[in-house]
Symmetry: C2
Subunit: 335 residues, 2 copies
């Protein structure tokens, strides 16, 4: 194949100007004679010229791209965030490079190194494992970082927050308000910050209403449907009484409901269930599942906007905290 990459030099020759001039029209510099500009443009078209990205990046030290690290490339939560981030970024002329941290330290570290090495003009991060220091260091090293669902004092204005703890607290309180006191909870992997926070919120609510915390009613799972099912089966097998369960996310709740049904228990008649995150599907389940809504789209939107403002080095006057909200539906019964 005729793989003679056409370069700025070829264009210059064709248009009978210097390479510098070509570069100028390429980056539309102010003072260039229209006539010359026209000639160069024409030459570009005729030769089918496209600037070499690496050369550009190397020469000016910016990549016109922002990185996005999520925990997983699959699933509703991160899927929604990716969609939103990608949309506003592309609209702004930036490209979005997505990587997965897999929730492990090595992976997160590698992903960050990757994005830094590509000189992402900014990096949006959902990190479970990286230390504050590491993140701060990266931020200072030239790639401004936007944190999702994590707060670091020094990076105050670069953190998009929503309160897992408070959300879990509200969820549990909702259960309590409906007369429940034997409340179980299935958490995500406690190595994840969000899972821990949600557990904390659960405990806080219990505490506030003077309900003793019973470790036998809390099981750790993995934020996924089959995991939720398994954990619920274990819970059932243990034969401790409970009238409600708060699931660390909706996926697990869905699995849990199935396990409950299998055991001949129906929701919400026999046991009440509340989830977390509020996947769109909740509306379509039977019974419709109550959950805490995390405004994922807003989060993605804010994160991307903040990244952009960081690049432009302008202040952004936006509230960086979003609220989680109780969505009452049919899976919680008053007793």
């Amino acid at each position: 194949m005729n793989n003679k990459k056409v370069t700025i030099k070829d264009v210059a020759a064709r248009a009978k100007v210097s390479r510098a001039s070509v570069s100028r029209v390429l980056n539309d510099y102010p003072g260039v004679k229209p006539e010359l500009r026209e000639r160069v443009n024409q030459a570009m078209d005729e030769l089918g010229f496209a600037p070499n990205y690496f050369s550009q990046a190397l020469a000016k030290g910016r990549s016109q791209s922002v990185g996005l690290m999520v925990r997983s490339l699959g699933g509703f939560f991160f899927g929604s965030i990716m969609c939103e981030v990608e949309e506003v970024l592309t609209k702004a002329g930036y490209q979005c490079m997505v990587t997965s941290g897999h929730g492990t330290y090595e992976s997160e570290r590698a992903a960050m190194e990757f994005m830094v090495s590509r000189q992402c003009d900014a990096i949006i991060v959902y990190s479970d494992c990286l230390s504050d220091e590491e993140i701060i260091k990266i931020n200072q090293a030239g790639s401004p970082v936007v944190l999702i669902s994590r707060f670091i004092q020094e990076l105050d204005s670069q953190c998009i927050r929503f309160d897992d703890t408070s959300g879990a607290y509200q969820a549990t309180k909702h259960l309590i308000a409906n007369g429940h006191s034997d409340i179980a909870t299935i958490t995500g992997p406690l190595s994840n910050q969000d899972a821990r926070d949600r557990l904390t919120g659960y405990r806080k609510a219990l505490e506030e209403f003077a309900i003793p915390y019973r470790p036998e009613l809390v099981l750790e799972s993995n934020f996924q449907v089959p995991g939720g099912k398994l954990a619920t089966e274990k819970l059932l097998a243990a034969k401790h009484h409970f009238s409600a369960v708060f699931y660390g996310n909706d996926e697990m709740a869905i699995g849990g409901i199935q396990a409950l049904n299998h055991a001949g228990l129906s929701v919400p008649e026999d046991v009440s269930v509340i989830g977390f995150e509020d996947v769109p599907l909740n509306e379509f389940l039977k019974p419709k599942m109550s959950s805490m809504r995390i405004p994922v789209a807003s989060i993605g939107n804010l994160a991307a906007k903040r990244a952009l403002s960081l690049i432009a080095q302008e202040e952004l006057d936006l509230a960086l905290e979003v609220d989680v909200q109780l969505m009452e539906r049919e899976s919680v019964k008053t007793i």
Copy 2:
């Protein structure tokens, strides 16, 4: 911040060798004296040197990364593919750069240009809108392309295929085998190839069993839950009789079931439903939904492996076609 990026030059000075030698140990070239190698490595460590990615890419014309274009960053189908592709790629020392084609021509074109400009060593593509010619051209221009769910004769060995048409045919046939003949279908956007193929399969089955094709029983929707609901409501409003509906994917089927229920119809007693793709959730719905399973993980796996083999320029002796499989559950009733 002390942003003096340390370069190969600094390392060379520190180790008292030439830049060329540093480069050699960096790319572990065969003939380098261990003693010198050691000295350079030490200098690198002391200086905290990390090679500049753009320089490397510029100099050697390869980027050590492969691109992946999907239709959407969200949703189960593409989420699973992304996960799988990313996993095998990272394991092989490649980085994966994900972009979204949004199912529109402009977007797909831009995404491809992006990946080409980054000199992806290979590109994995799920494309709805690009023409065969465009794809072939990109493939020849130096970035080998792997197609997912699309067949182009000239790129025969680079197409990971599964048969949408045959899958839809099987699904419809399954309905027919269960005694149904008034079968509606809700399709995805017919601008998408897969949606069209699934419709074709539906028609083929009808034809085979001499059931007349009734346009009033086919509605176009958008592959999403609310869309499926809406379309089903329209179908209901039209008052044509049907005893079963084949949904172009599970998401729409889930929305559809809700609409059915709202209208006082229960599944499968009053109307049978079958979906497509087989999201893991199907197991957990009530009733458990029958569907055609597309082995998404295998697809991602194959695509990535093929991309790798293309880069290495070695033949890959793998079957590039995967089967979709009927998962019979509870949403189809024999009448």
